[in-house]
């Protein structure tokens, strides 16, 4: 996760799960990131720098480089209730940007081939609103790139159902990549919340 603000230029780099805010003078500030409500991530620092930074910048640009390109997200930094907290808010309609979020995940996934019927299950390796990487328990004979599936994920916020396409995988391969093609707004909110929560847990270790 990278965050920049145009005036002055700021950078938050969360590569490896550690969120660090870098000021133009070279100062590096460790932050924790967690979500509260839909579309809100709270960045908190152990010190009282939040109020100060919120006064310095009126807007930020966020992007989540994921190896497939950049997603740009417009948000606003504003001070939270505590002086050490910054709330980053963005319109909930930024579906394109949210689909680039992904983080290592734990949990199970159940898949069903749509036409004709077939089933498989496995565990999640990582998860995002745009897709997931999975390891299958057993590889069905029909499993290959391009097959469309119904998938079900069990997440803390409730079950998520989507239609997905196998984008990596061939007969005999246990590891596979899925792209979520069709997902309800509610389901996408749950996935995004789960991804941000996983990112926050890793940053807090």
């Amino acid at each position: 996760v990278k965050v920049t603000g145009a005036d002055p230029e700021l950078l938050i780099d969360a590569c490896g799960g550690h969120v660090v805010l870098g000021a133009p003078d070279g100062t590096r500030i460790p932050l924790r990131c967690r979500t509260t409500d839909d579309g809100i991530a709270v960045l908190s620092s152990p010190g009282s720098l939040g109020e100060h930074l919120a006064g310095m910048i009126g807007g930020v640009r966020l992007w989540w480089p994921d190896g497939r390109g950049r997603a740009e997200l417009t948000g606003t930094l504003s001070p939270g209730r505590r002086g050490s907290t910054l709330a980053v808010t963005w319109p909930p309609t930024h579906t394109q940007e949210r689909r680039h979020l992904r983080a290592p995940a734990t949990g199970r996934i159940e898949v069903r081939r749509l036409f004709p019927d077939g089933t498989a299950s496995g565990r999640l390796l990582d998860l995002g609103a745009g897709g997931a990487a999975v390891v299958l328990d057993h590889v069905p004979a029909w499993w290959e790139a391009g097959v469309r599936l119904g998938v079900s994920l069990h997440l803390d916020g409730g079950p998520v159902v989507a239609v997905a396409t196998v984008v990596r995988g061939s007969p005999g391969d246990f590891a596979a990549g899925l792209r979520f093609d069709t997902m309800s707004a509610t389901a996408e909110d749950r996935v995004v919340a789960a991804v941000l929560a996983a990112d926050s847990r890793r940053a807090g270790r």
């Binding site: 036409f115 119904g150 079900s152 239609v163 069709t182 997902m183 309800s184 389901a187």
Partner: protein, 110 residues
């Protein structure tokens, strides 16, 4: 959006369809989609559906292509027919509108 949904024509069709609801375990209901519109569809299932459900996905097969749409509610009716209400908001990569367009072009059907 509401006016748009109300004005959407209902097209009679005869397409294999699947409802995916809940999970895990993922509930899969196979049937035939007999009418489609922008806001929803009617589907004939092989068995009576005892109660209404919320959330899920409807997928239909036409010409080897799978088109899918997020579902807000599934309302059971008599004779194994369910009324499927789609979510109002369009989703990225929605492949339902292209399906409706193609049905309009050739009068529907598989």
């Amino acid at each position: 959006m509401t006016a748009d949904r109300r004005s959407s024509p209902r097209l009679p069709v005869d397409l294999p369809g699947v409802l995916l609801i809940g999970g895990p375990p993922l509930a899969r209901m196979d049937g035939t989609v007999v009418e489609v519109s922008r806001g929803g569809c009617r589907m004939l299932l092989g068995a009576e559906v005892p109660e209404e459900a919320s959330g899920g996905i409807l997928a239909v097969l036409r010409s080897g292509q799978v088109s899918a749409r997020p579902v807000r509610r599934v309302l059971p009716a008599e004779g194994g027919v369910v009324r499927v209400i789609f979510e109002a908001a369009a989703v990225e990569g929605d492949d339902w509108d292209p399906l409706l367009s193609s049905l309009n072009d050739d009068g529907g059907g598989p």
